[in-house]
Symmetry: C2
């Protein structure tokens, strides 16, 4: 019950164990098509270029930066925690000049600051983390996308912590590129990095002056395998797809859509509310200000005099894993994810009960 990987639905476990076929097997090609189709529904987009990258969520984010940026390009990246800093660092590795707009931990960034920065000097890309897993803070992104587009920039988001558990509206918000992960609110094991690229982003890919420094994440060849829009053309081998992982992801997407995205968002919200109320009863407070707190991740202040690491170890002895804080919040907070299969009353109550027991031991 850390911030992902989370437990997965038994149907996902069963899918992982299905017989392995080849990456060009007609059955697998059908699974790929369905995966792309369903992933578009989950991203709320019509973008053709929507696939799970064969790597972790970070691999998807690297795919965005290494394809959209090249040496000589300018990018503006908003950071308010570890994952924002990482997104900026990945952009720097692509050879771009990166201008960072920073907010203090726990906070998010006022849209005006992007407006000012782009007015001062344009950029090719604006990028920001939607839900910051290190602080629990949620950055509204729709207004940022409007600002980026007014200034001729592409808009990219890291929605690793939000997709499947909180509204992510790629088309309505006008997001040009987004990257998420398989193991948080989508509910399959870690190992895939779902991404989506809109027409403006793909236009930028085609207009590159240099080839990407990555062969593995190169979108122009990847989609020769995954299939270009409107093409019944022959598929060209790129790399061997992670068959079993895609089986699991395919089933997880089906579960998301069977439940319905709105119902799923409500369930995540309800689990958070139940958990927050329980924490209050235990005298525990949340680190992230309520104004921009994401429901699927609770960052809890460790009470004075309590050894946060020992509490986590004792919870682990009871079969429950939660995470410690990140970076400067390391010994000051715990992080609890209520994501996917775990965003239900039973896991919430089990954790609250265990936490109560362990905190009593701490105080004894």
């Amino acid at each position: 019950m850390g911030p992902g990987p989370s437990n997965v639905d038994p149907r996902v476990t069963a899918a992982l164990a299905a017989p392995i076929v080849g990456h060009l097997d007609p059955y697998f090609l059908k699974v790929m098509e369905e995966t792309m189709h369903n992933l578009r529904l989950v991203f709320r987009t019509k973008h053709h270029h929507t696939i799970p990258m064969s790597g972790s969520g970070s691999a998807g984010l690297e795919t965005i930066m290494l394809n959209l940026l090249e040496p000589g390009d300018e990018a503006v990246v908003g950071t308010f925690g570890y994952f924002g800093e990482r997104f900026a660092e990945i952009a720097r590795r692509a050879g771009a000049t990166v201008r960072v707009i920073e907010a203090p931990l726990g906070d998010v960034i006022a849209p005006e600051r992007f407006e000012q920065e782009l007015r001062r000097k344009p950029a090719k890309l604006v990028a920001v983390v939607h839900g910051e897993t290190s602080t629990g803070a949620l950055q509204p992104v729709q207004e940022l996308a409007d600002i980026a587009h007014r200034h001729g920039a592409l808009m990219a988001i890291d929605c690793v912590a939000t997709l499947g558990g909180f509204p992510v509206e790629i088309d309505e918000w006008g997001i040009d590129a987004a990257g998420s992960c398989s193991q948080k609110c989508i509910g399959s094991p870690p190992g895939l990095g779902p991404v989506t690229f809109g027409p403006r982003a793909m236009e930028a890919v085609r207009a590159r002056r240099t080839r990407p420094t990555t062969w593995y994440f190169d979108l122009s060849t990847l989609f020769q395998y995954w299939g270009e829009a409107g093409g019944a053309k022959e598929r060209v081998f790129h790399h061997t797809a992670p068959i079993s992982a895609i089986y699991g992801f395919h089933e997880a997407l089906r579960l998301v859509l069977e439940e319905g995205l709105e119902a799923r968002w409500t369930r995540h919200r309800a689990a958070h509310d139940r958990f927050s109320k329980g924490l209050e009863r235990l005298g525990l407070t949340l680190y992230t200000p309520a104004a921009h707190r994401m429901p699927q991740l609770s960052v809890i202040n460790i009470p004075p005099g309590v050894d946060g690491t020992r509490v986590r170890r004792r919870l682990l002895d009871l079969g429950i894993e939660i995470a410690g804080g990140f970076g400067p919040l390391k010994d000051k907070t715990w992080r609890v994810g209520l994501m996917g299969y775990n965003a239900r009353p039973e896991p919430v109550d089990r954790l609250l009960g265990a936490l109560e027991q362990v905190l009593r031991q701490e105080r004894d």
Copy 2:
């Protein structure tokens, strides 16, 4: 029964379905340690820096090139098929000047040609494919490593098709960097890229003038998570490891070591011999010259007048998948992998029986 992914042992399937824990969970850290230890045994190396990369086999090969090469470097890459060309292309993406030594399809490269090329002009890296999956040809690499080292170059190999099914002796041969895959002779699902880096390679990584353009595959930060040599130091999060895939890979390595590498090589050889004899009875011949044919992959000449695609489709209707040829060999050959779990008499006989039946239909 194409050249991978192959069917996996039921024990690997069961491991995939084990409960998911966090990437910093004490149990998972133990799984990581055992995976590194066992992978070293399979690579026949003492290299500390031996891990499964979180991506396909190609991801491991890209890790080699993007970490060992940077703009201004020279590399010599031997190519005798698609995967050699791809290895050279990945090296070019790293910004290196790549000099290619080419041999015709089906052939391999005489060591003297590397000697001549390096005498003409030194290079930082010599790279070659050990077993070329597009042609079935096997390049002896030990002598190449000696030549590379005499000329002050590092030696890297792509052993994607060989590791676990044919001798790969990283330390005895003096290989500085090698990349393989999970889904061929190792016998787990596709999705991991096992790599090993020796001290000379890691020295080159530390001596880089620029940071790698990749954040995801950056060895210097990856081993802060996987653990540096001799260090009981705290692990620093890099990316969320693909837990389930590593469970499967961990179990596959255990199976390899329980069987014993030598016994496994013998089993792959025996399966190939049984298959070759059967093909001969059916009047079929192998494309790859016997002198440098790898046993785990059989490239079969499609007889005149036979529709190769229709034969493969009919085999698929019987539940058996084999692959078509690659590139220029596309409509001229079939490729059959006898790898890992499939390198046994039963699958060989089943395929031979089905092939006989389907070829009879073709001739009717």
